[in-house]
Amino acid sequence: MSRKISDTRVSRRTVTAGIGAAALAGVAPFNIGRAQGAPLKVGVLLPRSGTQAGIGQDCQRGVDITVGILKQMKMPDLQIMNADTETNVDVARARAEKLIADGAQLLVGAFDSGQSTAIAQVAEQKGIPYVINIAAAPPITEQGYKFVFRNFPTGPMILRDAFLNQKEIFALVNDQPKTAVMLHVNDTYGMSILGGTKAMFPRFEMPYKIVEEIAYDPAARDLSVEVAKAKATNAEVLIAVSRLNDAILVTREMIKQRWTPKSVLSIGPGWYEDQYLKTLGKNADGPISFVPWYDPNKKATKLLEDALAKAHAGIGLNTNHVYTFEALLVAADAYKRAGSADPKALADAIRATKITDNVSPGPGIQFDAKGQNDQLKCSAIQNRGGKLVTLAPKASANAKPDWPLKRA
């Protein structure tokens, strides 16, 4: 029944070998075994392999340190049941089904909006509470779900806070920049931020106007032309929407071309990441990033920082750890108040959540009728001496802005 394929074309063997090699090469490092054991069975779904493996494993660090912290906070124990979504919607759904079949009483995850949506459907069909750690697509909590909760800002909330925090910083430094140039990656993330910025910009009456938008490929190896174009606009501030590698490239190019705008205002990743700080050293100082972050003044933040430093020395506390921790905190807190692992009782308890001893900025963790924590605030953070300080919102700040940008 098999049929011979002509030797003059791509052979089956060649293609199969190529795919096999690609599959092997694309796999993330091994990550063996995690401790288990305690009453509430929480299924944690994270993309620990595939294209989002790095982020998924970073979130997993948040999971690993949480169990000990919850003990210190006198919360009930959680039995963590890990599942790898392989950065794949199909797998996320299948893993959610498996976790529930294996007895998971609550689900947490899954970093990505597509995967989270697939899990949400399973959770809703089975009537198992699901707490999303990180996923920003607004429609997830617009579906009328009764068992799905999200303690993470939506895309519009992130942009709203970026504008509000910028205004707060301009007021603090008593400077109102009049012009800005936007330098952004042209991938999915970059284009969605660009679209959102355009849609929301008029509403916030920002002091500056965006004089030019310059797009570039995230895989670009040279951004000298783009930076030169941005410099030529004479804009007072640079608004950057980047990934890690291109953020490093842009910074290096700015130094090379001796372009020092008043500030770099980054919406999204890249400019505050550990690798950025380590690679650029002193030259990393100055950029301000507008991101979902943590409140350095809250008591629980100290616990989380200490636990992370102890378990993973050299890794700075970040969004992945914070929001994964808080998702598990929501689970433990609900379990404590519900006094039962019954899914409906747990969901009702989550709906009535009011945690003020938390880590993220804002009044605390609570959910609106749709299951969204709409009280969350995002922060403005600045790189300073290889560390990150929080400038805004005022209630979560631990430093004054270093303004304008200084280069040696």
Binding site: S2, R13, G20, V27, G33, S49
Partner: protein, 334 residues
């Protein structure tokens, strides 16, 4: 048609085939939702693999961009449903022609200018990438923010609007897989199928014997795309969210071709057997590892990598021809 099948296919094969589909039809009554979810995945890949097989297996043209057609099918039907409330079965009337038209354009460019081999494969990747980037900026389908289909708790299954529980989706993909198998069988035994095989074996010789190779290659790519697009419609209504980055990604295209690669390219049972082998083996491996308390992210990809390498070395024709020989099953040659 049925008489022809009964005449052509050995009785032993027919009995085994009937038993196989009968067992699959009975599964929802004995298995839980987890098993059903895995089976839906298996059948989805068996179906799309069968559709891909028409182009590569029967005609010899490698497509590494078939996610393009699942994506076009998914977005066409889902956007019509979201914006106008058009039921997915009616949406198919748009999804299939759109996928076939794009496949026609791709095929025309490739076959008119004699693009073949790895260059044809690159062209298919280019089309899929073009679609991914295009849909990222296509505001009507929400661009990169993702298209979400409304979801609610369904007290009953609505087959017309494809809103319901996993069991309903299971039976839909089971029937689709059986139909794809039947269509592939009939195509392979038709005059067109013979011409495809001639093209696959030696295109120049086929042309020399008077076969209009351009026409038959166009037919292969368009039929393959049309069938694949139904897989996309199923995907959209089963998962209820679409992101260009995920739907059109090359990883999706590779997932589609894995089942026929493992099962046996150019065979009718290959895509089905391959999907079962890959999915059940990787799930089985995971269950075993979990039983030993070992949590290894990415084990499935590692496993797939080794399985593929092992098959390349040990079973270069694929798993199904090997099984068929062992079972004494032999399809009558076309």
């Amino acid at each position: 048609m049925i008489g022809r099948i009964l005449r052509d296919v050995p009785r032993r094969t027919l009995v085994l085939l009937a038993c196989f589909f009968a067992v699959l039809a009975a599964v929802p009554f004995i298995a839980g939702d987890y098993v059903l979810t895995i089976l839906i995945l298996i059948l989805y890949f068996a179906y799309t693999g069968q559709a891909w097989n028409i182009l590569m297996g029967f005609t010899g043209y490698l497509s590494l961009g078939h996610a393009l057609f699942t994506g076009l099918g998914a977005y066409s039907a889902a956007s019509l449903f979201v914006h106008f409330g058009v039921a997915p079965w009616l949406g198919l009337l748009a999804a299939i022609p759109i996928a076939m038209a794009v496949a026609g354009l791709m095929g025309f460019l490739a076959f008119r200018f004699r693009v073949s081999g790895v260059y044809f494969a690159i062209l298919t990747i280019a089309f899929a990438e073009f679609a991914r980037i295009g849909f990222d900026h296509f505001a009507w389908v929400s661009g990169s923010s993702g298209l979400f289909l409304p979801v609610a708790q369904y007290a009953h299954n609505d087959l017309w609007r494809l809103r319901g529980n996993p069991m309903m989706f299971y039976y839909i993909i089971l029937v689709a897989t059986a139909l794809a198998f039947l269509i592939s069988y009939l195509l392979l035994r038709s005059r067109t199928g013979y011409f495809w095989l001639a093209i696959r074996e030696d295109e120049q010789a086929a042309r020399a014997t008077g076969i209009d190779t351009f026409r038959y290659k166009m037919m292969a790519v368009m039929i393959s795309a049309g069938m694949t697009s139904f897989g996309g419609v199923f995907y959209a209504f089963y998962y209820n969210n679409l992101f260009p980055e995920q739907v059109f990604h090359i990883a999706r295209s590779i997932e589609i071709i894995l089942a026929p690669m493992v099962g046996g390219i150019g065979t009718l049972f290959g895509p089905i057997v391959g999907a079962f082998v890959l999915e059940t083996a990787s799930e089985g491996l995971r269950v075993i590892l979990e039983a030993f308390g070992i949590d290894v992210p990415g084990i499935k990809q590692v496993f797939w990598g080794f399985v593929l390498l092992a098959i390349v070395i040990a079973l270069p024709e694929g798993v199904w021809p090997w099984i068929a020989r062992r079972l004494g099953l032999k399809e009558r040659g076309p």
